[in-house]
Amino acid sequence: MTKAAELAKMGEVLTNSQLSGRRNLFYNGNFQCWQRSTSETGLGASSGYFTADRWKADIGATSAGRFTMNRTTSTPDGFNYGLVINCTTTDTSIAAGEFLLVQQRFEGQDLQHLKKGSSSAETAILSFYAKIVGSATDIVVEVFDNDNARHICKKFTLTTDWVRYYFTIPGDTTGSLDQDNAQSMTVSFCLHSGSTYTGGTLATDWAANDNSNRFVGVDSIFSSTSNEFHLAGVQWEVGSQATPFEHRSFGEELALCQRYYYHTYSYGSPAGTTFNQDYESPIIIIGTGNHGMGVCNAVYPVEMRAVPTVSFYGSDGTANRIRYWGGSLAAYGTVNRSTRQILGMSFNAGTNPEDFYSAALVCDAEL
């Protein structure tokens, strides 16, 4: 590119205000935050949020394929961590409804500046670093409008080297996004798909969803246990030019992620970690005498997206248990009177209603 052309591009970026304010729509796009776990094996039987914050493994029809979902330090320069998906059990008899998507879901209220559905809908660009080990080189990235069942897709052929890839997404003048805390858009990296989603022609322009046009041309990561998909530095920004990855501080990124998932362990200790209830009890539940009830209140560090699903862990790491002080684990009958900001629980536990219980708290308000 000539100097004049570089200056012209820079001028375009500045004119579009791409360098001002927060640019990246992704949460945890550089895989800094791993509250749940940094390594999970044997995945593939069901969908879920397993490791990196905000990144979901979405599973279609039942597949024999299994995979691990791990943090990796083998990353492009300037990134601490990336995500790696490694096939551990193959699936060479692919049923029609199968798929494996690594995806992130977005609230409509965070996407209004895309101006989707208006005559001034904005062009956006999605960029990411990726590489592949093995033969499943072709992936499909899909941007899906959940409010209007519309989508646009692009196929990428990866190599064994880290490369930054780009997906220019034209403004869509059809279908506005709801301005609320519900799921309005989803960005998916498809790594495996059955014929239900591959029988047509890939939707490379915005169109009403047609399942047969979603993942056309994708290779299956489940074709070999040698296949590994590596992903880092994912960014989605308004504008027609990709800008350098927007690095946020760890604390900033963690706080953003805690809108969707939060636990009372210290960072680095996932749910189920043992703790000493004498001096490191994450929360304390107090019995209320003769009423046979316990009560517990806590304030979340940030307002959660929705009233969260709640679970407790005993000090020995057992799920769905609270621990009587100095005594045994107890099941509990909880009543969640929480809001998006405050946990308010009462417990029908009570074999020892005048005593203390301890537990770790896990809250989930993911999309």
Binding site: G292, A306, T309, A331, G333, N336, R337, L367
Partner: protein, 65 residues
């Protein structure tokens, strides 16, 4: 929070009535079931949305003793 949910249960107050603010998931633990995650009755909560889909399929929530 990725437990295998096999059903749902209403929780009872001291006075015998049922709480309206949340329900408990029933999960499979070996050969038995036990109470798992506590799900608020918030339409924006994804676990509650899954519960509503489960009900729409013709299933019925259990009532705690």
């Amino acid at each position: 929070m990725n437990e295998e949910i096999v059903g749902y249960m209403k929780m009872r107050k001291e006075d015998g009535s049922f709480f309206e603010s949340s329900i408990r998931a029933k999960i499979q633990v070996g050969d038995t079931t036990e109470l798992g995650i506590d799900i608020p009755c918030d339409p924006a909560n994804r676990h509650y949305q899954e519960y509503l889909e489960w009900v729409a399929e013709g299933n019925t929530i259990e009532e705690a003793d």
